[in-house]
């Protein structure tokens, strides 16, 4: 009775009836299927789920208040992770795996004498305590720009991340240009 290698390649035993043409074809097709699957897997490894969104219109950030940045333009999305019409503040994961997440924002100055700080935090919905943040002292007249990166393991499809900003100038100010992206780097 024909046997299979661990990868599924069929081969005849000595006791099997000789039918070399069919046996060679069977073997060739097994290898073909396996190699084709590996080629697809290699291509997939270089073409992971990725998405990016941006906005440039001002979004008011009240002092000492956590606010999720919102986005207006979907620049790229090969895995249906962004749906701005439903939620304009998040990237929702449609596959499990490890993702490189990036967020950045430009804080406009408000002229307030109290300068305070500017902060950006990538906040996952699940797995609390895995967030990443960047904080800078602001400026009375100059913009403050910051960017944050996070490697995050998505364990549940439907988990999502948001970009939370905060400032302590004592008065409202705006974030203007900002972007938010995620790209899968491993299963």
């Amino acid at each position: 009775m024909p046997q299979n290698t661990p990868r599924g390649y069929t081969y005849p035993l000595y006791s099997d009836p000789a039918n070399p043409q069919a046996q060679i074809e069977d073997f060739a097709r097994d290898v073909d299927t396996d190699v084709a699957a590996q080629v697809a897997r290699i291509a997939g490894a270089l073409n992971r789920a990725s998405a990016e969104c941006r906005a440039s219109a001002n979004q008011a950030i009240a002092a000492n208040t956590n606010v999720f940045a919102t986005f207006a333009v979907e620049e790229y999305d090969n895995a249906n992770m962004i749906n701005l019409g439903v939620n304009n503040d998040r990237i929702t994961f449609t596959e499990t795996g490890i993702y490189l997440i990036h967020a950045e924002a430009n804080f406009a100055p408000n002229g307030n004498a109290t300068v305070g700080g500017r902060e950006g935090i990538i906040v996952p919905n699940l797995l609390s305590g895995t967030d990443a943040r960047q904080s800078l002292r602001g400026h009375i007249t100059f913009d403050t720009e910051l960017c944050v990166q996070l490697l995050y393991q998505v364990q549940t499809v439907g988990d999502f991340v948001r970009f939370q900003v905060r400032q302590s100038s004592g008065a409202s100010l705006n974030i203007s240009a900002r972007s938010f992206s995620a790209t899968k780097v491993a299963d």
């Binding site: 070399p20 080629v39 270089l46 073409n47 992971r48 990036h102 002292r137 007249t141 100059f142 913009d143």
Partner: protein, 220 residues
């Protein structure tokens, strides 16, 4: 008549064929032909396994960022802020370093896809006596090789707004900025801009070595 497999086109004899056994080195048999076809295919696949495409470009020597009195809210874009690069450390991502003349200084990914980029700039102490640094900004921007001298759109930014004296009491020496961005493979190109503001204004702020590392995250 010999058949071929549907995906990788490996040859095999069909039932109507007479099984051909190798007669000489110049007369390969059916099994040898199949084995060699598989071997060639797997070797080609293996040779293409280079990992994620990645490139790093470096700018050596100094670069003087001019016009430190420019208004900085919002941070301006102008081609004379673009940081030049002159060295390709490695490049498996098919990214072309365009002319480094003033007004160009673009890094052009020739394949479309989503990219992740990190740029760094080494910032030495401003040695102009009595001058204080108010602001330093580093940005990754997206230009176009169709009109290299056109202003480039902002992609991502990083700034330092703490006052600093000539004795560098802030300790900032290396600024970095990162970005995730789609590039179309036909016109989009990376560029890096760096600028500073000082009190009183000085003619220029000279920075040292800078890098941009670019990873290609998708194939289209």
């Amino acid at each position: 008549m010999a058949g071929t497999t549907p995906n990788r086109l490996y040859p095999y004899p069909t039932l109507g064929d007479r099984l051909h056994i190798a007669g000489s080195p110049d007369d390969p048999g059916d099994l040898q032909l199949l084995a060699e076809a598989i071997d060639d295919d797997v070797c080609a696949i293996s040779a293409g396994l280079t990992g994620r495409p990645v490139a790093r470009f470096r700018g050596t020597g100094t670069f003087a960022s001019p016009s430190t009195s420019a208004p900085l809210s919002p941070p301006p874009s102008d081609t004379f802020y673009r940081v030049p690069f002159d060295t390709e450390d490695f490049n498996t991502a098919n990214i072309t370093m365009q002319s480094q003349e003033v007004g160009n200084r673009l890094l052009f990914p020739e394949d479309p896809g989503f990219y992740f980029a990190v740029a760094t700039v080494y910032v030495p102490v401003l040695t102009v006596a009595g001058a204080t640094v108010n602001y330093m900004g580093l940005q990754i921007r997206k230009g176009t090789i169709a009109t290299p001298t056109a202003l480039a759109g902002r992609v991502s930014g990083s700034s330092h707004n703490l006052p600093v004296s000539a004795t560098d009491d802030r300790g900032v020496r290396l600024m970095s900025v990162s970005a995730g961005i789609y590039m179309n493979g036909t016109t989009d190109a990376f560029c890096v801009e760096w600028r500073a503001d000082t009190t009183p204004d000085v003619a220029e702020y000279v920075i040292n070595e800078r890098t941009i590392t670019i990873l290609k995250m998708t194939q289209s």
